[in-house]
Symmetry: C2
Subunit: 357 residues, 2 copies
């Protein structure tokens, strides 16, 4: 019977430790209703209010992992994917990476006098980045110009230093403190129950990897994103991987299932997103056989963060929202479902400006 | 002091368990020389003869993981990469995947009457596959023709069924029983000490992933290889990922560091290969700062397996062998260093013809 408990996100299972088993059994004798997690005596999702979204997530984990469950999923097949912008961290007033691009353009401008008369660089340097980057082609051009040229290790150092110090324009928080606490709890819950969790983002793979492990506990090989071309070469007599000014892969929309296949090599059984760019990822995930979970985060809370969906240019949620009921996708209503929105502030930054060696 | 022991490949560390600590301490008091592994009372590399290769591997693991070691590598940075053909399993008389291509051509021939007059298919169907596939372009054409068209899940099923039944032409063993026991022990040793191990092969990523987890314990996201293009699309009203007849990435030579960066997202600290195709992978790995390990397996044993190096068309080891002394790469001499070559036969196949669900 003890095997029916959810594993709580401590990294160990309750049934392996005798005192825990005894305590849990005593507790179970007094509790006649509630979720499996509640029976185990510890709430794995304390930042979630009771409601259909919370229940759907807990129910999915319980029935895909409990021994003897007809819906049990083999450990090797427990793969869950998460969009990043708007799903794991805030994407307003604009994508964090767009802010990084703006800062990079400013930092690199002294070496590029031609940018003073060339868009989108001229508008960025004139203090109108929103206008400059509203066009998709302009954004791609700015990304390529500011993300290429360096070696992979040089670029990692630039990203680390930026993310360790740059702050959100509205809240003054570090961007890594603009992450959604309820989603961190879902990551932990899934991992504690044997799932391998991946980020699958339209954002740059090499922009996310330097900090994803420290912020989300997700190692680089489980981060999937858009990429530019690279080439192994020699610089100053030392081998490097050079970043080239050409887009290699766009991990958005129908690119997300292809990116998942390329990196994870498996169709996921659970997918979490928040915009139409996640439509195909949720479709691919939830159209497989057996138990499936598709979740859309709908941003409905203008007081604690931002409210936006169908009309938003960044993070538009329209087609996927219409499709949700028919496909059984769970829609999280941030105002109603999340007790806490952002992760509580820590006493010190969680990303070191230098990588682990 | 107990923290100085290597973790043995049981998946648990000795120091967590009191009886082990006591036993190890008693043992240590009697042993005044030998490797750290020997002090722990269990040999993690029983299929390796005593010698410089074995010592170099044990020493590297010990000094990169022992608490307080000046060469200690942070757990997040413990990444090790392994070539597959000729390093983890046999590549003679030819690459296993070439044999798969031959069998696929035969199976698909009834639907391709034009192959009877078109090379390399005509020679394969006429029973002369070695001639047909000796040319690199011919091999690529045959791979594209036989590996595309299907969906990713259909292709996985084809590979699984083939690998579960196909047998090596010389030994009659399943190909998954043609894996090198000493290298399986190295994989286990590294994992037990917190390393994440990756396959980085010139072979097809989707040819290896279906069985790499069952045979090597390496999950799909840690398998890097050559790839063809894919596209998310709808077939018969169902979403699929279609395999397209175009090469997307060749993971060989200078492609290996690029493939490592794309998938692992980190420069490894240890690399194991056996041919000139692994040169850049070893170079990239061992030219980073801090402790590094580069290992080349040299096939010197014509009695227990095959002897080949500089003159071989498959698995040529020439340039990398010349470079080894100057770069500090360890050369494994199979005849001298390996007590056992192939993994002992098991009572039943280790790959299920159907995937875990």
């Amino acid at each position: 019977m003890s095997r029916s408990f959810l594993r709580i996100p401590s990294g160990r299972t309750l049934v392996r430790s005798t005192p825990f088993v005894v305590a849990a059994a005593v507790l179970a004798a007094f509790v006649v209703a509630g979720t499996a997690a509640a029976r185990a005596g510890k709430d794995p999702l304390p930042s979630w209010n009771e409601g259909p979204a919370r229940r759907a997530i807990l129910d999915f984990v319980e029935r895909t992992t409990r021994a003897g469950s007809p819906d049990r999923v083999a450990p090797a097949a427990r793969v869950a994917v998460f969009d990043n912008d708007g799903t794991l961290w805030a994407e307003k007033p604009t994508y964090v990476q767009a802010q990084f691009v703006v800062d990079r353009v400013r930092a690199l401008a002294p070496s590029h006098p031609e940018w003073r008369e060339k868009e989108p660089f001229a508008s960025i340097l004139a203090g109108r980045p929103a206008v400059a980057l509203s066009d998709q082609r302009a954004l791609v051009e700015a990304v390529v110009a500011t993300h290429a040229g360096l070696t992979t290790e040089e670029f990692e150092a630039v990203v680390r230093e930026w993310i360790a110090t740059a702050r959100h324009p509205a809240t003054g928080r570090l961007y890594t403190e603009m992450v959604y606490q309820p989603m961190l709890e879902v990551l932990d819950l899934l991992r504690a129950n044997g799932f391998r969790v991946f980020i699958v983002s339209g954002g740059g793979i090499d922009f996310m990897r330097p900090w994803a492990e420290e912020v989300y506990g997700i190692p680089p090989e489980r981060v999937v994103g858009s990429a530019i071309e690279t080439r192994y070469e020699s610089r100053d007599g030392k081998p490097v991987i050079a970043r080239l000014p050409a887009i290699a892969f766009v991990d958005d929309g129908p690119g997300k299932p292809a990116g998942i296949q390329r990196h994870a090599g498996r169709r996921p059984v659970a997918a979490f997103g928040n915009s139409d760019g996640d439509f195909e990822m949720l479709e691919w995930t939830t159209s497989g056989p057996g138990p499936r979970l598709g979740v859309l985060v709908r941003h409905t809370d203008a007081e604690r963060e931002w409210a936006y969906d169908r009309e938003s240019s960044v993070g538009r949620l329209d087609r996927a929202l219409d499709a949700a009921p028919g496909r059984g996708w769970v829609v999280v209503d941030v105002r109603r479902d999340w007790r806490t929105v952002f992760r509580p502030l820590r006493s010190r930054p969680n990303v070191s400006p230098t990588p682990a060696r």
